[in-house]
């Protein structure tokens, strides 16, 4: 081939190459497509609430388990309801809190008070909790209650009565019956007095005995009462999987 042909072919090849490169580059720059389908995330909701009833029993006295369980004025309840629009597993703890917080130094303490704890899930059978049963309570001071820490709420460091999970709409009724199981542990106060009448309106022996009353030496042993209180606490959080 002569030089002119070679030159012509070379120029043509370069032109083709340049065009190819330019075309390719432009093709990369224009490959920008916005999709047609919309993808969206819309939040659901999870709510829990505790609707409770409380008790205030004054001037009670030590009872047996049977008496405490049969009593009708000593139940604290928390109707725990969950409502979810989506799917989520919620773990929760139910505990006693502020235990004897108001009167920690009086004669009635957690060692004198028993509870019977139970729950019913969606109106199902009653399940007894915290080591109690249908016929037996347990002292709040028992280490199985006192030292029971929360599983899902780490702020609960004791007095937990139940840990459980819920995954949808549900209603769980918790009931804590409470009674004094033993006399307050305060020290008895003993007083003695000589020269008293069984009718305290009579102040002399003659008047006392003339009225058919007893005059003599009186010994009196007394014990002050006490008060004990607690609150119910529910702590819940999502269980991640």
């Amino acid at each position: 081939m002569d030089n002119k042909k070679v030159l012509g072919i070379s120029i043509a090849a370069v032109i083709v190459l340049v065009v190819a490169i330019i075309a390719t580059s432009y093709a990369v720059f224009t490959a920008n497509i916005t999709g047609h389908e919309e993808n969206a995330l819309t939040t659901g909701y999870v709510t829990m609430r505790c609707t409770e009833t409380t008790f205030n029993v004054a001037n009670t006295q030590p009872m047996t388990d049977a008496q405490g369980i049969a009593a009708t004025n000593n139940a604290a309840t928390c109707t725990l309801s969950s409502e979810m629009s989506g799917t989520m597993t919620v773990g929760y703890d139910v505990a006693l809190t502020d235990v004897d917080a108001d009167t920690p130094s009086d004669s009635l303490g957690e060692g004198n008070v028993k509870i019977q704890a139970s729950k019913s899930v969606n109106s199902g059978a009653v399940q007894y909790l915290a080591g109690t049963s249908a016929s037996a309570g347990k002292l709040i001071s028992d280490t199985s209650i006192k030292n029971a820490a929360g599983t899902y709420d780490t702020s609960i460091t004791g007095y937990k009565i139940d840990s459980s999970t819920v995954t949808g709409n549900s209603t769980i009724v918790y009931t804590v019956k409470t009674w004094v199981a033993s006399e307050a542990t305060g020290t008895n106060n003993t007083t003695t007095q000589d020269g008293e009448c069984s009718d305290t309106t009579k102040t002399t022996q003659a008047a006392c005995e003339a009225a058919g009353e007893i005059w003599g030496y009186r010994q009196r042993v007394s014990q002050a009462g006490g008060s004990f209180s607690f609150k119910l606490k529910v702590g819940a959080s999502q269980v991640l999987s």
Binding site: N59, T60, I214, G225
Partner: protein, 212 residues
């Protein structure tokens, strides 16, 4: 011609690099958004909490007391005692009067038990046994509460158990008692002499034995 080709080549190379940069930036942005979404989702769910602390539940006990008032004038002090039958024993004038009072603001029963507490006898005396002494208890009105009974037949020296039913209007309940004691008529006194004296001494105790 060569200059033109070089310029075009350089231009193409620059544009390719820019495109690569854009692609990398887009990839980084995508990854960043994805990470942010995951982070937000994770943080949101981890933070979800529900805490409820209810109102106070209170239970309280009232103060209680148990009193024993013993007569200083009517005390059983019998000297020169000899065996006697139940009829005489029940009507003897030597009687120990005492009263027990329970106080409770609680609506419920206080239960107490009256018992005998046996004492040591005086020096120089010989002890009578539990099976030689009878006791008899009446209330303040003279109604029999415990029939004549040998002390040996009492369980743990327990004489009588009383239940006081307290209500809001009866927070203080007082019960009076009369206790008599004598040597049982079945005791053989044929060997007793003026130099061999027998004796039995006791006190009354009252203890709360429970509440209902």
């Amino acid at each position: 011609m060569d200059n033109t080709e070089n310029k075009e080549t350089e231009k193409v190379q620059v544009e390719v690099k820019d495109q690569e940069k854009n692609n990398h930036s887009a990839l980084k942005l995508g990854l960043l958004i994805a990470a942010f979404v995951v982070l937000m989702a994770g943080v949101s769910f981890a933070v979800w909490r529900f805490t409820y602390t209810g109102s106070k539940n209170t239970i309280s006990t009232g103060g209680i007391s148990l009193e024993l008032l013993e007569s200083s004038s009517n005390v059983v002090t019998i000297t020169n005692a000899l065996p006697k039958g139940d009829t005489d024993g029940k009507t003897q004038t030597d009687v120990f009067d005492f009263a027990v009072t329970t106080t409770s603001p609680r609506a419920g029963n206080m239960i107490y038990t009256i018992a005998l507490s046996k004492l040591s006898i005086d020096s120089g005396m010989t002890a009578l046994t539990d099976s030689q002494v009878k006791v008899y208890l009446e209330d303040g009105a003279g109604t029999q509460l415990v029939a004549p009974t040998l002390i040996s037949n009492l369980t743990n020296y327990q004489l009588y158990t009383k239940t006081d039913a307290h209500t809001a209007s009866t927070q203080k309940i007082t019960s009076k008692y009369k206790l008599r004691a004598w040597i049982d008529g079945q005791v053989d006194a044929s060997n007793w002499t003026s130099s061999t004296r027998y004796q039995y001494k006791f006190k009354v105790t009252v203890s709360e034995s429970g509440e209902i």
